[in-house]
């Protein structure tokens, strides 16, 4: 019976089905393209976390983490969709770079604070991590846009 059903459908109809699948998958991906403001906010907050750690102001960490949670909630609140967690090789590599970099920057900033001063050394370390996180967020955004197959402005 199923065989007969398939045979009755022409190749064009089957191709139409494949096209509609592609269209819907792209529509779904379009909804989850991370906005620029999200990458920028997370980058700034990650940088602030490093700067505060390097400056020895760990009591303020909780505020930064709360702000990060707020940014994450704000991003997902009105989407109406949630992204499938796909821990690709690239994500693992990014985490392997970011976690040691975080501690290296904190230790490095503390070590050179005598040279750059107690303000500039933590700020520089924070700035470096912010830049790295922002570039990674742009890269992730670019990956989504390529998958969707369209260039879209903010």
């Amino acid at each position: 019976m199923v065989e007969k059903e398939i045979q009755n459908e022409s190749r064009e109809m089957l191709q139409e089905s494949l096209d509609s699948i592609e269209k819907m998958e792209q529509a779904a991906l379009k909804r989850v393209v991370p906005p620029l403001w999200f990458g920028a906010s997370i980058a700034l907050l990650a940088g602030a976390l490093v700067a505060l750690s390097a400056a020895g102001l760990r009591e303020y960490h909780v505020y930064i983490i709360l702000l990060m949670v707020l940014v994450l909630v704000g991003k997902s609140k009105n989407l109406g969709v949630s992204v499938r967690k796909n821990h690709s090789k690239l994500t693992v590599i990014a985490m392997c770079i970011l976690i040691p970099l975080f501690f290296m920057l904190v230790a490095g900033a503390q070590a050179i604070s005598g040279m750059l001063g107690n303000v500039w050394a933590p700020l520089s370390a924070g700035g470096i991590l912010s830049a790295v996180v922002f570039v990674l967020s742009l890269f992730e955004r670019r990956c989504y846009i390529i998958r969707v197959g369209v260039e879209q402005g903010e």
Binding site: S17, L18, G80, S82, V83, K85
Partner: protein, 103 residues
């Protein structure tokens, strides 16, 4: 001809679109699905129920700002069935297989 991967439950246009939309996502809200498919609540509910009955989809209800929201997601079985169905469609539209279809 190998046809056991062709899924008639999924192949109906609206259900195919529901599965295609949910495939790259963890879950999607009912209202979002309705807007993307451009169908009425009742039509969408009917198709969701059919997918749910065969175990391809599950629903979850949550409350936000006092408003009830319904979320739908593909189950593991649903994802597998959808992937197999797409693979089968691709195989069938392949010109190499078309002559066998026409026979």
């Amino acid at each position: 001809m190998k046809i056991n991967r062709f899924d008639t439950v999924i192949h109906a246009p609206n259900r195919l679109q529901i599965c295609a939309f949910l495939a790259p996502l963890e879950e999607a809200e009912f209202q979002v699905l309705r807007a993307e498919l451009d169908v009425s609540d009742s039509v969408l509910s009917k198709h969701i129920k059919q997918l749910e009955e065969v175990g391809y989809l599950k629903q979850r209800k949550s409350k936000m700002n006092g408003r009830q929201r319904t979320w739908a997601c593909l189950t593991r079985k649903g994802r597998k069935a959808f992937a197999c169905h797409v693979e089968e469609l691709k195989r069938l539209v392949d010109p190499a297989n078309q002559s066998r279809l026409d026979d």
